[in-house]
Symmetry: C2
Subunit: 639 residues, 2 copies
């Protein structure tokens, strides 16, 4: 099987530079004259000089009387002066031209009318007082705007005032999109059922909307099947329309049906294939028939992020102006986030307000899930020179929604439980649309996150061997001064997770010490590990007797997968994990899984919504259906 | 003369609250179904639930072979497994559906082809490895968006994918603008010469552009003359169109032709007349014929700022969503800025980067000058509870242009000189469009601003009595460790500014001690004051002998105006100030006016542009035309 590979992956900044330098973007856009009234957001194509002065005449800046300042120089409280209306003084309203011979305005509030046509003044005024002088605002011939200026609403005002009805701006960049792929159907063809194995083509709509957001115009070609000849024809047709950019969607990777790179190499000039960014690696950049072309990855998140990183800079080069950026705020990471050295990662995160600080947690990293963008509150860029972020690390995050809406994200850091995912689903249905964002760091780290203000809630099931109690002793020991509440979430069965049929006949913890049995363990600090160690000691089994004791997973599902794939013969975990992978389960203990809640969050209106869910029978039912859950004390206040 | 007055001026927040509560804005907008493809930026009018799951089938997340995971459980390096292509293993590309019976994908990179139809694998895979499962991204029926959500480019993607071709959004708010004023002409009527005393009507274009920026639709009525009956007719006609808001432009003040408040009071309900904000005081809010109405001030800057403060919140109330805000950054004030207690002030400022910090200086405060908005880099909101900002005070500023463009603003804090204004004009003509922003705080404060990183340059003319030298001794004393350059800007004549005809026959500094002579002084720390004190001491005249010595102005022009208005008989200042007001001038000394420059700015490309201007004969000529200037050493490096 012949396979293409990425020959020379480029770092992100280098790929951007190559694309910027491969084409004379600065001269790509024509100029056009458009009515000033329609010019908001457009970019000036040349410097603009005022055609006339502003104001064009000396005018009153206040309502009052216009006078010759020199006539008033003698006036004082002791020596008031009388002025004749119509001769030395003239009533003027704001904005009206000064009568010939006058050069100052006295505010109407300071004028004493003796008669209808006679006023008294008691202090002098200096020349040009309360007068808007010719050219005070704009002098004819002075530059109003440089080339490459983005016109605001008020810029239109100064253009009209200084003599412009039309303005010379850069034409809009035009992008032609060619969606490709045998599996694609148009959204219009798939309103009811989608044929099996087909996918709705929506990348072109998203990217076209971005082009419009950036001030360009997009045209979308019909879907092209995975066929070199058809693709070539479509690209040629697109190039003949002389767009500023052609974007092929999908087919930019290295699969057997990915023709983009080969096509550009054979028909034009291939500049880049593969970028060290994540998501967004499978990007192709090149020139075909004197037209810049980009091959965009087919995964929607990759498509959006790669398009933004590669195309926004060339739009800016064409404009000679910056495209407004998303606002940035400082925030801290609620958990440890490793990232691959040498790759620029664009992490989609949920962000919330914990006390006064903004905290974020990563969403799933898969580039196929568009909801990792639509649900994201922000994007965190992790430099290619970084190996990731530590828990509590501060960095800048790019906001995707108004900062105020971050209040709607509830951050849960601690031990993971599948029922939390159900809770997230139920919260999302509520009118407020609360989002629950979770990070799985183990119970003890969850407690620390509450202490450090890195989460609203922590899921915890820490068993204390000395008292035989769950959670409370740990909270008293580690968070003696943090204002918190502890409520019960669920009780759940912990037990042995075994392959179907239990081939080695394992019955209890004692059997873990058998020679032919391989165990898979959980990490220290996890509630399950504490429970295991306690019971092993109780029955007098030493860890050294257990094969695999030192091999650790960090989730229940991870343990179950080890058992399912035969890497281990047995693990300790919750029933729901076993059920999910159709494994056998022998219940051993019942453990209490509680929610530790920061007091300020507990007292917020958002927690009220969460409480409603906890008392909803439909929610309890859904949790119990997971298997091995007891919800009878859900919501009970423990501490 | 009968005059209206503002009876009950309201604080800004109170006016906003009154307007928000006076109308059921939440129900004002209808719903409409629009194509998803055109919905970017629109606001959802109801919660939106997924019509189908995403992905709709289990599909390969990688290029490779699809297998049944259970078939691979025995595989290891020691015990490789063989799988038959077409029977146990199936070639799949990313995105393709998994063949019936398979539940995992092995990456093509990990597959060893033995024959065309036989592959070897050396490790097991677990179920659903590299598989995108049904509903992994979106589960049918789950909420995608709450009501009041602004749709982004990628939101359109998830809508199309989950079964929507149209989406229910809020209709666009419609605003009808009625420009009023006898002095107004349409821009189209004024392309050549404007009739004397007439003003181009451009407020409606600016405000309509704002309405469009906020997602609404604007209609502009013909100009209405200052006539109660005509205005009433126009408002009735507007109300009959059932807009969401009517905006009367101008006529909202308390002048003799300001009918807005009276009209609303008589025909409907007057809610507010006058707001404690600056600019933007003359605002009228009310209801007429069951339609909210706003009277907007006629001064363009007031119009924009008042409209933004009053109308954006009601748009947000109608949408149930926030309108994106301008980005904010932290910055420090380069000079002291007093502000009136009890009034919320919106200061337009120039902002620049000095070293690593962002520094701002206020533009002119006049609300009539639209360039105080078009030239502004940012807006600073000064709370009604504040008396202003101290030099160096930190606050948040709202950026009106990309942060990167702030590099183009050169901040000059120090002694003022009229030639700086000419320099600003010349710089503005340069291709880079550099802006010079100045604050007049006196020479010594200018030196301190350089030291504290609050300015790029300072204009200074500090005479040192001990050495007889200008500037250098002060710099050595006060900035021994700050890296700076000092270059000459101009030499200028200082002398006595006198009324035309010099009625009191003053000839030199000795005459200031005459009993019948009133002097006007400059503030301590200004170069002119230092010079005065030095020469008075030299000739043995005591300050106590001089009437008016304790009365201070902070600019040359301020001194000249005192003389022109008869408040003083004589002042000390530069010739250009006397010339500007047609006053007499007796030259006494020649002083050196230098520019003190931060070294990092001196070495920047922007300073190169400034240097070009300093060697431009046209610039020197323009400066000399001010009167009393010697430019022969302009640009010479002194330190």
């Amino acid at each position: 099987m012949k396979r293409k590979i990425y020959l020379h992956m480029k770092p992100l900044y280098e790929a951007q530079k190559i694309f910027l330098n491969a084409w004379d973007w600065k001269k790509a856009l024509a100029q056009e004259d458009i009515p000033v009234k329609e010019a908001r957001g457009r970019i000036t194509a040349q410097p603009i000089f005022a055609k006339r002065s502003l104001p064009g005449f000396n005018s009153a800046a206040m309502d009052g009387i216009a006078v010759r300042a020199e006539d008033t120089f003698g006036a004082s409280e002791a020596n008031p002066l009388l002025l004749q209306i119509g001769k030395q003084a003239f009533l003027v309203n704001t904005g009206e031209p000064l009568p010939e011979g006058t050069n100052a305005v006295i505010m109407i509030e300071h004028v004493h009318f003796i008669k209808e046509d006679l006023v008294e003044i008691r202090s002098p005024v200096y020349p040009w007082q309360h007068v808007r002088r010719i050219g005070e605002d704009v002098v004819q011939g002075e530059m109003l705007f440089t080339e490459g200026h983005r016109l605001s609403a008020w810029d239109l005002g100064v253009l009209l005032a200084s003599g412009y009805l039309t303005v010379t701006v850069r034409a809009k960049p035009r992008v032609i999109f060619i969606p490709t792929g045998d599996e694609l159907v148009l959204p219009e063809e798939a309103e009811g059922e989608i044929p099996f194995g087909k996918t709705v083509e929506f990348n072109s709509t998203m990217l076209a909307a971005l082009v419009e957001e950036w001030g360009g115009e997009a045209e979308i070609f019909p879907i092209v099947r995975d066929n070199y000849v058809e693709l070539k024809k479509a690209v040629e047709k697109a190039a003949s329309r002389k767009p500023h950019l052609i974007a092929l969607i999908a087919g930019s990777s290295a699969g057997s049906k990915d023709y983009t790179a080969a096509l550009i190499e054979e028909e034009g000039k291939l500049l880049v294939h593969g970028i060290q960014m994540m998501p967004g690696k499978p990007v192709v950049l090149g020139l075909v028939q004197n037209t810049p072309i980009i091959g965009v990855p087919g995964y929607p998140v990759s498509a959006v992020l790669a398009f933004e990183q590669m195309v926004r800079p060339v739009f800016e080069a064409m404009y000679g102006a910056r495209i407004p950026r998303r606002p940035k705020v400082k925030a801290v990471s609620g958990c440890k986030i490793p990232s691959k050295l040498g790759v620029t990662e664009f992490l989609r995160v949920k962000a919330g307000k914990v006390g006064t600080q903004t905290v974020f947690l990563p969403l799933k990293r898969g580039a196929g899930a568009i909801t990792t963008l639509t649900r994201a509150d922000a994007i965190v860029r992790i430099s290619s020179e970084s190996e990731g972020l530590l828990q509590g690390a501060e960095c800048e995050i790019e906001l995707l929604r108004p900062e105020k809406d971050l209040a709607k994200t509830i951050l849960v850091v601690g031990s993971h439980d599948l029922a939390l995912d159900i809770l997230a689903q139920f919260l999302r249905q509520k009118e407020l649309g609360l989002e629950l964002s979770t990070a799985h760091v183990g119970s003890l780290s969850g407690l620390m996150a509450i202490k450090d203000g890195l989460a609203h809630m922590a899921g915890t099931h820490l068993f204390d061997p000395e008292t035989g109690e769950f959670n409370v002793p740990y909270i008293k020991r580690y968070l003696p001064e943090t204002p918190v509440r502890l409520i019960n979430f669920v009780y759940r069965e912990q037990g042995l997770i075994l392959p179907p049929g239990n081939p080695k006949g394992i019955r209890d913890l004692r059997d873990l010490a058998q020679k032919e049995v391989t165990f898979i363990n959980r990490q220290p600090g996890s509630g399950t590990r504490v429970l295991l160690d306690y019971h092993l000691q109780k029955i007098g089994v030493s860890p050294r007797e257990i094969q695999g004791y030192e091999v650790e997973e960090t989730t229940h599902l991870g343990v179950a997968i080890n058992v399912a794939t035969g890497q281990a013969d047995v693990g300790l975990g919750i029933r729901a994990a076993a059920k999910l992978l159709n494994l056998e389960f022998i219940p051993l203990f019942k453990e209490r899984y509680d929610l530790l809640i920061r007091l300020d969050f507990y007292e917020s209106p958002f927690f009220k919504v969460l409480q409603e869910v906890l008392t909803d029978p439909a929610f309890k039912k859904a949790v119990e259906n997971l298997g091995g859950y007891d919800t009878s004390e859900m919501g009970k206040i423990i501490l």
